[in-house]
């Protein structure tokens, strides 16, 4: 510990602290621009110059290490003169366009200029003008305003993992720019908008739509992945205008994924459903809530009565709140309906665990592992901020390895990687299991059949990273969780974890996957395999949100009655009988349980649009209409307390109830690798225009094969290909992805182009179009 005195206040700080750290710890504010606690120290803005006793000249607080007995003066004449001098320099070439600048009101330069600037400038020369850059659909630039703090450059390199922005040229001609002809395509790119201390980088979707001081700040929780990022939703006149991160070191730190940041655009979409609709005589008509609810109640009651309880199935989005799922399940129980399924993208339901599947540890603990094996995951796209966190861990020594059907760049060092066919994740894992068993001389439980398994060098290398670690994790990604042999993948991963002393992690795919499993909204398996007489859809679009979109759509189309509860109109117009406008997460109070089993409740941030109602209220009224008892809830909190009563932690478990037999199988022929693309996860994200204009969204419109497979199939990059799967077909442009094995055809799901195709992973045929 070192002793330091700042502005006369004595304190002790740990060795290695900077003057800035020390000042922050006692709440002394030192003005700064380039310094950011999560980024490397650049010391280039010079705004944080302070006086240090015995130093001949002022020193930058951000980069000056504390020495024992140091005396620092942050507001002495020398310090303030230096700070004012820097401010003068920053302002000479900065445009005085605050009245038309989006950053106005939340601009660090503007704020500090009040304290350190002059009311007029001695600089009489022409100001610098810098050409704007095209950074893509999310980030707008006004590069003339740039003060060259390099935060954005350091962010792309250090946090996002690839330096998509750089400083070109020299002296006052220095410019921040992307690679020539390229945009910024990181899945967490929007954070540079928050980092930019001036109005050089602003939000393109938000641009010119409101002034920051007109906005109210409301807390909420991210609804598009399993992390549960904390949000600040900024609203004006009951409209969501912008979403920003709310700092929570344990979850999202100070970052936010682009998906959570920009998907709000869909909330104001013209596709919003604003009143209940009934189809009568083949014609859609607006109805009042009472009529619509009575129609639903009577219809469902009648079908159950005529065809039995299993003739009705409910499919809910795993992004629905705990309250919604619980009330829905309770309502269905009243009708006798058991099949309430929030995991429609899953294909294999045989892996039953003793509790709800979860990360097996906290997010912070995950980052402290010494070794992590990713199994079937496009982690950067599935959980952008988790990928970011692990990237930082790798720098501190984490050994990251993967058994994957693709070689997508994690933008970090990967210790070992085993590439497999998408239908061979099990066989990949078995190789690692065998390698571990051989290296440790351990016996493998009898339900794991290792006969015929040949250990590759890659599998041996992966085994090596896991053996002998006190903290290691085997993590099953979305591709694994949605695979047709999930139970086998699970059982093999469980054995691998047991053999190596590692934890098994099943990161939640959606905002409330863990909550849904806790409530028991995982009944019925694939409810589209045997078409039902009636379906109730809560926030799902079966053609996009089911494992086999074509099968789901066909099942919906043949049903006698389909009730859709959704914030949006959709192609439900084709198959639904009733459409009820229910609130997206911004218009209702509710709770999500994130991947680490943490329940986070939030309030509605805006009034429901039009006649929209929170789904939990709809179920409450339906309960009353049906005359069920126990539906007298006055608030969502009452439902939550009933739904999550007791300790959550004790109800989480990744241990299989009964062993699942695992055996290697051979696989040949063309196989589809059907991932859910980063901007195809749910009905809100799919309607966010700026995200849909991104490079990632374009990539999801292509068919990807490796060069050898392309030439075998007669395909050329940029040309068109026709694919057939089940009874459906699609035409896609071809791109080459040499991170795939031969015969693997990567065709994304959850996009309009591919909605007629079948299973996410399965046989597919391809021809040149």
């Amino acid at each position: 510990m070192l002793e330091i005195e700042i502005d006369g206040k004595k304190l002790t700080v740990p060795g290695g602290s900077t003057v800035m750290d020390a000042a922050n710890s006692i709440g002394v504010h030192i003005p700064h621009f380039c310094y950011h606690k999560k980024l490397s120290i650049a010391a280039n803005c010079r705004m944080c110059l302070v006086q240090v006793e015995k130093a001949p000249k002022p020193l930058p607080a951000c980069a000056t290490p504390v020495t024992d007995g140091m005396k620092v003066f942050t507001h002495s004449d020398q310090a303030v003169t230096a700070q004012k001098g820097v401010m003068e320099f920053l302002l000479i070439n900065h445009p005085l366009d605050c009245p038309i600048c989006d950053q106005g009101g939340e601009c660090q330069l503007q704020d500090l200029a009040v304290g350190y600037g002059q009311s007029s400038s001695d600089y009489a020369e022409e100001k610098r003008v810098v050409a704007n850059k095209d950074l893509g659909p999310l980030i707008s630039t006004d590069m003339t305003r740039c003060i060259h703090c390099s935060r954005c450059v350091r962010f792309t390199e250090e946090i996002a993992g690839f330096q998509e922005l750089g400083m070109a040229n020299r002296g006052e001609f220095t410019e921040v720019m992307p690679f020539i002809g390229k945009t910024v395509n990181s899945e967490i790119s929007g954070n540079v908008i928050d980092l930019c201390p001036v109005g050089a980088l602003t939000s393109k979707p938000f641009r010119y739509s409101a002034r920051t001081w007109e906005l109210s700040r409301r807390k909420s929780v991210g609804a598009h992945d399993g992390l549960g990022s904390n949000l600040i939703v900024q609203v004006k006149n009951h409209k969501v205008m912008r979403v920003l991160p709310l700092e929570n070191e344990a979850i999202n730190e100070c970052w936010l994924s682009d998906r959570d940041r920009f998907s709000y655009e869909a909330l104001n979409s013209a596709e919003r459903l604003t009143a209940p609709m009934l189809k009568q005589g083949g014609v859609w008509q607006q109805a009042d809530w009472q009529t619509a609810l009575e129609y639903v109640a009577n219809g469902l009651k009648q079908i159950v009565a005529e065809h039995g309880k299993d003739s009705v199935a409910v499919v809910a989005s795993p992004n629905s709140t705990v309250e919604e799922l619980f009330a829905l399940r309770k309502l269905m129980a009243g009708l006798g309906v058991e099949q309430v399924q929030a995991f429609a993208r899953q294909a294999d339901f045989a892996a039953r665990t003793q509790g709800a599947k979860w990360l097996g540890q906290s997010i912070e603990e995950l980052a402290q592992n010494e070794a992590i094996l990713l199994v079937g995951s496009t982690l950067r796209k599935e959980q952008p901020l988790l990928a970011q966190r692990l990237r930082q861990s790798v720098k501190k020594g984490l050994l990251l390895s993967a058994v994957n059907p693709h070689r997508d760049d994690l933008l970090t060092k990967v210790a070992a990687e085993l590439l497999v066919r998408p239908d061979q994740l099990v066989e990949g894992l078995l190789q690692v299991v065998k390698a571990v068993a051989e290296q440790q001389n351990a016996t493998v439980p009898s339900h794991i059949d290792l006969s015929g398994v040949v250990v590759s060098a890659e599998a041996a290398a992966i085994a090596q990273t896991l053996i002998g670690k006190t903290k290691a994790t085997v993590l099953l990604g979305n591709l694994a969780q949605n695979s047709a042999r999930f139970a086998e993948v699970y059982a093999a991963a469980e054995v691998l974890a047991t053999l190596t002393g590692a934890k098994l992690a099943v990161p939640a795919i959606a905002a409330n996957s863990v909550g849904a499993e806790l409530i028991g909204a995982d009944v019925g398996g694939n409810v589209f395999a045997m078409p039902k007489k009636a379906y109730v859809f809560l926030g799902v679009e079966p053609e996009f949100d089911a494992h086999n979109g074509a099968q789901a759509l066909a099942a919906a189309q043949q049903a006698e009655m389909v009730v859709v509860l959704s914030p949006f109109q959709s192609c439900a117009l084709e198959y639904a009988d009733v459409m009820l406008p229910v609130s997206p997460f911004t218009e209702t109070s509710g709770t999500f349980v994130n991947m680490e089993g943490k329940a986070q409740s939030f309030n509605g941030v805006v009034r429901p649009l039009g006649e929209t109602r929170p789904a939990w209220k709809v179920f409450r009224v339906l309960g009353n209409v049906l005359g069920f008892s126990g539906f007298d809830y006055n608030s969502s909190e009452e439902i939550r307390d009933e739904a999550l009563a007791g300790d959550i932690a004790s109800r989480l478990s990744n241990t299989l109830v009964t062993p699942v037999a695992v055996k290697a199988q051979a696989a040949t022929g063309l196989v589809r690798l059907g991932e859910v693309p980063v901007y195809g996860t749910d009905s809100i994200v799919r309607r966010a225009p700026s995200l849909q204009a991104s490079a990632d969204a374009s990539l999801a419109q292509t068919l990807r094969v490796n060069a050898a497979t392309a030439s075998k199939l007669g395909l050329v990059a940029g040309g068109m290909a026709k694919v057939n799967q089940a009874a459906g077909e699609a035409e896609l442009s071809v791109a080459i992805d040499d991170g795939l094995l031969d015969d693997v055809v990567r065709v994304a799901a959850a996009t309009p182009l591919t909605r007629n195709l079948g299973d996410l992973v399965g046989a597919i045929s391809v021809a040149k179009a």
Binding site: C45, L49, A82, F89, Y123, M167, G171
Partner: protein, 428 residues
């Protein structure tokens, strides 16, 4: 350029012989004897560093830091890779001495670096050569090949267990890469921008490893010190200013060129060696140590001796030893305009005061030179300068300000006259 007077570095080099730079000629002049002595007599690292301290050799790149002391900072017991780097990124306007060293006597530098590697327990060295002198770079590469072929460089030098690899690196011509940490960044393949210090290169240098960086002339002086002893080197000069030093004399003298003379030689003598002032004009001012050094008027300069202490006492710096001589016809406003343009052009743009301030300085001087100066401009120049100097990551900011301060201190009236004329000429 031509070297007119020879000292420690150029010794017996016969400039008329086109092969004077070759290893064979160098060995004939007693070259590599120092290295052989170290290897054969197994002289200890401590003894070499002590000898360097005795010699009072000070860094010839500009800062004048005692070389022996710098070498003693290298953590010799550090277990990982350590690096030795030579700074031949000679970019200071007025300086052209290092170029002549690698053209005419490259083996003195190579031998000096090998000895440095030996003394500090370093096995890999780089010579970063300025981007605009490609032929010199090629010659240095040839010299390296000769040294390797002769067993002076590479694995198991002269049959000992000491190995040293030396590589040449051709820079891209940015002035800022002469700043040692910017040089390291550039050498690593990054944009040449100075690093914030601490940490200093001795603990966190090239690729984050302990690194010692010296100037070309500094290394080239090392063989002499080892061969002849530090005391003899010191006695060539004067206390605290050991040895001879190369001065690159340019400007209005009859014979511009390199002069390797003992430190402490009166400037008047140097001027005489240069054949005196061109066309018999009167001496007006001298920039004694490269463009970053404040200008000194003739009367002060004629009292100075050419060494670190004397020039510092007079209010300037010996710097790299670039002596820019100006006669009575020179407009000091125009001279400063050109200097300020250089720093504006060469600022790396990393930190605010230098990025924004060097352009501002140039524009104000430029408008004074154009006859558009304003009465408040001289105060403005001082104020802007004060806001740059001492506030930046590296010394380029200071280097941009020192010439302004020097000019305003000694030749303020020239600026004032021009501004006054501009004001009178203004239409009412």
């Amino acid at each position: 350029m031509t070297v007119y007077v020879k000292g420690v570095v150029f010794g017996d080099v016969d400039f008329d012989n086109p092969d004077c730079w070759r290893l064979e000629e160098y060995v004939k002049r007693g070259g590599y004897a120092a290295l052989k002595k170290i290897i054969n007599e197994k002289i200890s690292q401590d003894d070499i560093i002590a000898e360097m301290k005795t010699s009072s050799l000070r860094g010839r790149g500009g800062a004048g830091f005692p070389t022996g002391l710098k070498w003693s900072f290298m953590p010799r017991s550090f277990p990982g890779q350590k690096y030795l780097v030579c700074n031949t990124d000679e970019g200071e306007p007025g300086t052209f001495k290092d170029l002549d060293i690698i053209v005419y006597n490259p083996h003195a530098l190579i031998e000096g670096m090998i000895i440095g590697g030996y003394a500090m327990g370093i096995t890999v060295g780089y010579n970063y050569i300025h981007g605009e002198v490609f032929e010199a770079y090629q010659r240095f590469e040839e010299a390296l090949e000769e040294a390797r072929a002769a067993g002076f460089l590479g694995d198991n030098i002269l049959g000992s267990d000491f190995s040293f690899q030396l590589h040449a690196h051709h820079g891209y011509g940015a002035y800022i890469c002469g700043e040692e940490t910017a040089l390291l960044e550039s050498l690593e393949g990054k944009k040449g921008q100075p690093r914030f210090k601490p940490p200093f290169p001795a603990s966190f240098g090239l690729y984050g490893k302990p690194t010692t960086i010296n100037n070309t002339e500094t290394f080239a002086s090392v063989p002499y010190i080892v061969r002849e002893g530090g005391q003899k080197f010191l006695e060539l000069g004067k206390p605290n200013n050991g040895g001879t030093k190369l001065f690159s004399v340019s400007g209005h003298v009859n014979r511009p060129g390199n002069y390797e003379i003992p430190l402490g030689t009166p400037f008047a003598d140097l001027l005489e060696m240069c054949g005196g002032m061109r066309d018999g004009k009167k001496l007006k001012a001298v920039i004694p140590g490269g463009s970053s050094a404040p200008v000194l008027p003739a009367d002060i300069m004629m009292q100075c001796t050419m060494d670190y202490d004397s020039i510092a006492k007079a209010g300037s710096m010996l710097g790299s030893g670039a002596v820019i001589v100006m006669d009575e016809t020179v407009s000091m406003v125009s001279a400063l305009e050109r200097l300020s343009y250089f720093y504006h052009e060469e600022s790396c743009g990393q930190c605010t005061p230098c990025r924004e301030g060097t352009g501002w300085l140039y524009r104000v001087v430029h408008r004074i030179a154009k006859g558009e100066g304003r009465p408040e401009d001289l105060d403005l120049l001082s104020r802007v300068g004060d806001n740059i100097a001492g506030r930046t990551i590296c010394a380029l900011g200071d280097a941009a300000v020192f010439p302004v301060r020097g000019m305003l201190k000694h030749f303020r009236h020239e600026f004032e006259d021009l501004i006054k004329d501009a004001q009178t000429a203004k239409p009412l």
